[in-house]
């Protein structure tokens, strides 16, 4: 029982990180039908920005997190403007291949500057290093922080998407770009804003992962990126609550598989889930078949 509870807690932490990354995938897909492979590298760069803030500039956790989010936002905007915007009317496969190119560029560009070896986040001290024991179940301060920050960011995201003018524009463009344009919505600005939002969340996830798992390297984004993508597909790609649910589900599955002796198979299980969804319900958990009405 304690083992189970412990795994649930670990699953929530990992799931939070997947959910944060998955949101970026899903929002961008929703608005321009692009699987932005470079997204997982924005997350990696977020982790490095956090590392430099803490290690070299000795900033605290919160300022590092915020700086990382800001830098990733700018990076996301730059990627969209430089790589994707010129291809707005190109075929989807052209944009997809560009995304893979941007991803490789970021991975190996980063490697050039910071070397391929892993680096460890500075040791957490004081309040950040606290652990709480409930019998044999341990909750670390980092885990509480991860959950708290993820929840706050998700609530903020929901408020932006549901209540603000630009959020409404985002939803309108994702449902029908031409109709949105006829309302006077600036489609380009809206797409850029979507990249900015998703990248900020990825930046936050990067710092949280650094703090939680300690070790970062230039290719750290690849596997979590793919898993977050599976999470987005599981929840129904393009659907924001779907990415949240998918993230926690994939996180929990992975933790349980490793926790109960299958750690060699955890990646296989996650990708097995992807195959299963694609066979059983390709639109994902919350996805619906597009309806048509005459």
């Amino acid at each position: 029982m304690e083992q189970l509870l412990q795994q649930v807690i670990n699953g929530i932490s990992l799931g939070s990180i997947y959910a944060l990354i998955a949101l970026g995938y899903t929002m961008v897909y929703g608005i321009i039908k692009l699987i932005n492979f470079a997204h997982c590298d924005v997350y990696m760069i977020g982790a490095y920005i956090g590392y430099f803030c803490m290690n070299n500039f000795h900033l605290g956790f919160v300022p590092s997190l915020l700086i990382s989010m800001v830098v990733c936002t700018l990076l996301g905007i730059a990627i969209e403007k430089i790589a994707y915007k010129p291809l707005r009317n190109a075929t989807r496969i052209a944009v997809l291949i560009t995304a893979i190119g941007v991803s490789l560029f970021l991975e190996y560009g980063t490697m050039f500057f910071v070397k391929a070896t892993s680096r460890s986040y500075p040791e957490m001290t004081g309040m950040m290093a606290q652990r709480f024991n409930f019998g044999n179940v341990v909750i670390s301060m980092q885990q509480i922080l991860i959950l708290a920050i993820t929840v706050v960011l998700m609530i903020l995201l929901q408020l932006i998407v549901k209540k603000t003018r630009i959020g409404k524009a985002m939803r309108a463009v994702s449902m029908d770009r031409d109709a949105a344009e006829l309302m006077g919505i600036n489609v380009d600005t809206t797409i850029t804003f979507t990249f900015a939002l998703g990248s900020a969340l990825a930046g936050a996830a990067g710092v949280l992962v650094g703090v939680y798992y300690n070790s970062i390297n230039p290719l750290m984004g690849v596997l979590p990126g793919l898993k977050a993508f599976v999470a987005a597909v599981f929840g129904g790609i393009g659907i924001i609550p779907g990415a949240m649910i998918g993230g926690y589900f994939i996180g929990a599955v992975e933790v349980f598989v490793s926790g109960y002796g299958g750690s060699l198979y955890r990646d296989a299980v996650v990708f097995g889930i992807l195959i299963l969804i694609l066979i059983v319900k390709p639109t994902g958990l919350l996805g619906k078949n597009t309806r048509e009405k005459v």
Binding site: K168, R171, A172, M175, D176, A179, E181, I185, K293, V294
Partner: protein
Amino acid sequence: MLEIKNIDVHYGVIHVLKGISFTVNDGEIVTLIGANGAGKTTTLRTISGLKKPTSGTILLDGEDITQVSPRERVKRGISHAPEGRRIFPDMTVLENLELGAYLRKDKEEIAKDLKKVYERFPILYDRKKQLAGTLSGGEQQMLAIGRALMSRPRILFLDEPSMGLAPFLVQEIFNIIKDINTTGTTILLVEQNASMALQIAHRAYVLETGSIVLSGTGAELMQSDEIKKAYLGG
């Protein structure tokens, strides 16, 4: 108010509009009729900025808007209820209407216009919290027109407003169009239902494979033998 001069439009190598010219005067209902594929929808999409013409000019109140963004055209008073309604299915009726007023800042006036839309289409008021995708076809058409009115347009484009509607609803929609016009909005109407369109239109143009082949007042064209034969079934 609106003047189209020698507009050419291509989709790839296909020449869809072949140098068409026409005008819409202040306060008129002008209709474009013609068969499927004649280029009626393309004409509207070009004037509202969704499709770039290869040559020609579009003048609104004498100003050249050919190169202007769709957004700027909405600001200058053009509103377009597109073919197939194109409402936002996963938003509520109210959110759809609010998006119609996306570029406006005058909150009080927007509230007034919203009230007017609800008065014109009481069913939309009853369903304001409902997702637009769950409305019936007729209700969706009313929403599309209501949404287009929320930008307080000076000229309203309606693309096939009667498509797929039950006959009694068609009559109702046309009554509404007439009423919108009498309250001061100029209307450019694209229709396949030629007889209905000609009845309410002040003037009409007949489009055939990308060219205007006939024009005149609604009443004149109703009497024309060619029109009778080709579009009015007799």
